[in-house]
């Protein structure tokens, strides 16, 4: 087996001048570049040149149409990293069907949570058909049954269908492209509907203004294909620029983070991307092997998906400097599923910048005042908005703010989602009548570049994942004798800048043994559904604050916790002994 070459010698490189994904693949298929897939032990497992991808996608499109779909019907497909998923995704483009990539992730003991999540996603997309790898058939069938989705097929079931004799009508420029699930809560996920126009505009911006792709580039990705960064950044955008990509499955990366660096060295990769935590994991796991690697050709080491952390970038640069890694390669960026993917990029040829500001002025006056030392907090500058988009940072009354004033970030661009699928309320809550998307993030301007300071929403960021507090609370409230409204989850800033998760639980129990067993049960439930370690704090009944409309106020609960107004009812054993 031979991996696809770095570039096309015969075919001129075109950076996404295409109106649709199908048009992009029609062009890329004329060359020899494409996708390569590595096994969990680092061996080349599958090779899918764009030409072969197109042929398989056309054939699979006819097989899909033999099932009698109507144009625009949704087809959910488990986005395992490999040729099967990608073929089905593009088959949908040629068949005029809307693919909905679904997650392939689970925690140890996490089956129930996964099934529930799948069911929620199928309901949100109103998808009646799901395509899955063989090994998940049981889980997916349960989820489909819960959501009332009638048809579940494995990838091989699909391939054994006859090809319909109909003429294929690929999606046109004015039609939809796919549904991306946003990091919405498990109980009610939202499907972001992306149009052909939006994906065309965003991939053009990524290739031309963000990564500035050339014939010399070869990309590497372990990012999941059911996330916007993995799907758009490292599958659709490279295809729209005829760039070769080498893939390692996310699950393989999770087991052996250092394999990412080894394979990039072997492939002489020039572009990769990861949330901060990925660089952290890989730097810690490479141990003594760094000197044997050659990362000197890596010119874009993109960072996105979580708060970009300066200390992590430093650790990575220090550890991998011996392998020829240059910290100028770091490319901080900012984006989200609601804008297809990218909003801003730092200049790919310039080193990244850090801005240190006063914590107190940030919290109390919403101003970013330069500072040093203990009172300072450092943020990584995330670059200029892409040329075709308009970004405003607004105060609470909606006025656009100038330099170093912290406010809420709003975006208007051709890459904006068409809306949340069949969810008018959520769409109008996110996109105003002026056409600007409320990103829910806070930040400020610095010399025309954006600095992101955090989330305005209650979202918790943990190891590069967005966790909705509702998911944690919901899991905990299912434990007897807790009821709805007994639990509040929020993040507090940890020592290293990552979020620590605190869960306040209203506890009516009296004796120590039952309180401790409740604490354990709550922790276990949260582990199983959200895979996150929390600080569980038992608090007195009726101590959690609610808003006037009867909603739990997480921000007020957090304040009361930090000020000590709400505190643990059980004294830790060693303190009791001391008293």
């Amino acid at each position: 087996m031979v991996r696809t070459p770095r570039s096309n010698r015969q075919l001129p490189q075109l950076l996404a001048p295409f109106a649709t994904l199908a048009e992009g693949l029609d062009y890329a298929a004329q060359g020899v570049t494409g996708f390569n897939f590595y096994s969990s032990r680092g061996a080349l497992q599958d090779v899918l040149p764009y030409g072969l991808l197109r042929r398989r996608a056309l054939s699979t499109a006819r097989k899909l149409l033999s099932l009698g779909f109507e144009r625009g019907d949704r087809v959910a497909v488990v986005a395992e990293t490999g040729p099967d998923f990608i073929v089905v995704f593009f088959a949908c483009q040629y068949a005029g069907l809307v693919p909905c990539p679904m997650p392939y992730t689970m925690y140890i003991g996490g089956k129930d949570a996964y099934v529930e999540r799948v069911a929620g996603m199928l309901r949100a997309a109103r998808a009646g058909t799901v395509i899955t790898p063989e090994d998940l058939l049981g889980h997916i069938s349960e989820g489909a049954a819960r959501a009332g989705a009638k048809r579940v097929l494995t990838f091989s079931d699909l391939q054994s269908l006859p090809e319909a004799a109909t003429k294929l009508e690929p999606f046109r420029a004015d039609e939809q492209a796919y549904i991306q699930y946003s990091s919405g809560s498990t109980s009610s996920p939202k499907g972001v509907l992306i149009s052909q126009a939006a994906i065309a505009a965003n991939t053009r911006g990524i290739l031309r203004h963000g990564m500035r792709i050339t014939q010399d580039d070869r990309a590497f990705s372990w990012l999941p294909l059911y996330h916007d960064m993995g799907l758009v950044g490292f599958c659709l955008a490279p295809m729209m620029g005829q760039c070769t990509v080498d893939f390692l499955a996310t699950t393989s990366f999770a087991r052996r983070p250092a394999l990412w660096l080894k394979l990039m060295s072997d492939n002489q990769s020039t572009i990769t991307y990861s949330p901060s935590f990925g660089y952290d994991l890989a730097a810690r796991r490479i141990n003594g092997d760094a000197p044997s690697l050659n990362l000197s050709r890596l010119r874009v080491a993109g960072i996105g998906g979580d708060m970009v952390r300066a200390d992590v970038l430093q650790l990575f640069a220090d550890t991998l400097g011996v392998a020829g890694f240059r910290s100028a390669a770091f490319l901080p960026s900012y984006g989200m599923a609601e804008t297809t993917l990218a909003i801003s990029f730092v200049d790919a040829d310039a080193p990244f910048r850090i801005d240190s500001i006063d914590r107190h002025a940030l919290k109390t006056e919403a101003r970013a005042v330069p500072a040093k030392g203990e009172t300072a907090r450092s943020f990584v500058v995330c670059g200029k908005p892409m040329p075709d988009s308009v970004v405003e940072i607004r105060n609470d009354s909606g006025q656009p703010l100038g330099e170093r004033r912290v406010g809420r970030i709003f975006v208007k661009s051709p890459s904006l989602m068409a809306g949340y699928y069949h969810n008018e309320d959520a769409t109008s809550a996110a996109v105003g009548s002026d056409g600007f998307l409320d990103t829910g993030d806070m930040g400020y301007w610095l010399d025309g570049e954006m600095v992101i300071t955090g989330r305005a929403k209650d979202l918790i960021l943990h190891n590069g994942r967005n966790i909705w507090p509702q998911d944690i609370e919901w899991a905990a409230e299912h434990i007897e004798p807790l009821r709805s409204g007994d639990v509040a989850a929020f993040a507090v800033e940890g020592q290293d800048g990552d979020d620590d998760v605190v869960v306040l639980v209203q506890c009516r129990l009296q004796d120590e043994a039952s309180i401790e067993s409740l604490r354990h049960a709550v922790s276990a439930a949260i582990h199983r559904s959200a895979g996150v370690e929390c600080r569980i704090v038992m608090v007195p009944p009726k101590s959690l604050p609610f808003t006037s409309s009867g909603k739990l106020s997480r921000s007020a609960a957090k304040q009361k916790y930090l000020s000590g107004e709400i505190a643990e009812i059980m004294q830790p054993v060693f303190l009791q002994a001391a008293q």
Partner: protein, 79 residues
Amino acid sequence: MTDTVAEICKLLEPFNTVGTTLSPSTDISTDLNIDSVTVMDFVMEVEDHFDIEIPLNVLSETRTVADLAKVVEARTKKG
């Protein structure tokens, strides 16, 4: 305690930062209070030690040390 359970407990010990007594009924993620990234480290140790691969769908139905021992035994016999 079977041999497999004992071996798994030995592999699990470095992750046992809370000092729980490991037994067949120990719930791997919740009793030890380790997060999902660390759990994968431990799973990898188990895979390397027994020279097997444990697919995610199987892992998602595995909770306790005894569950994991069953999975390991089924897969080592196969090989």
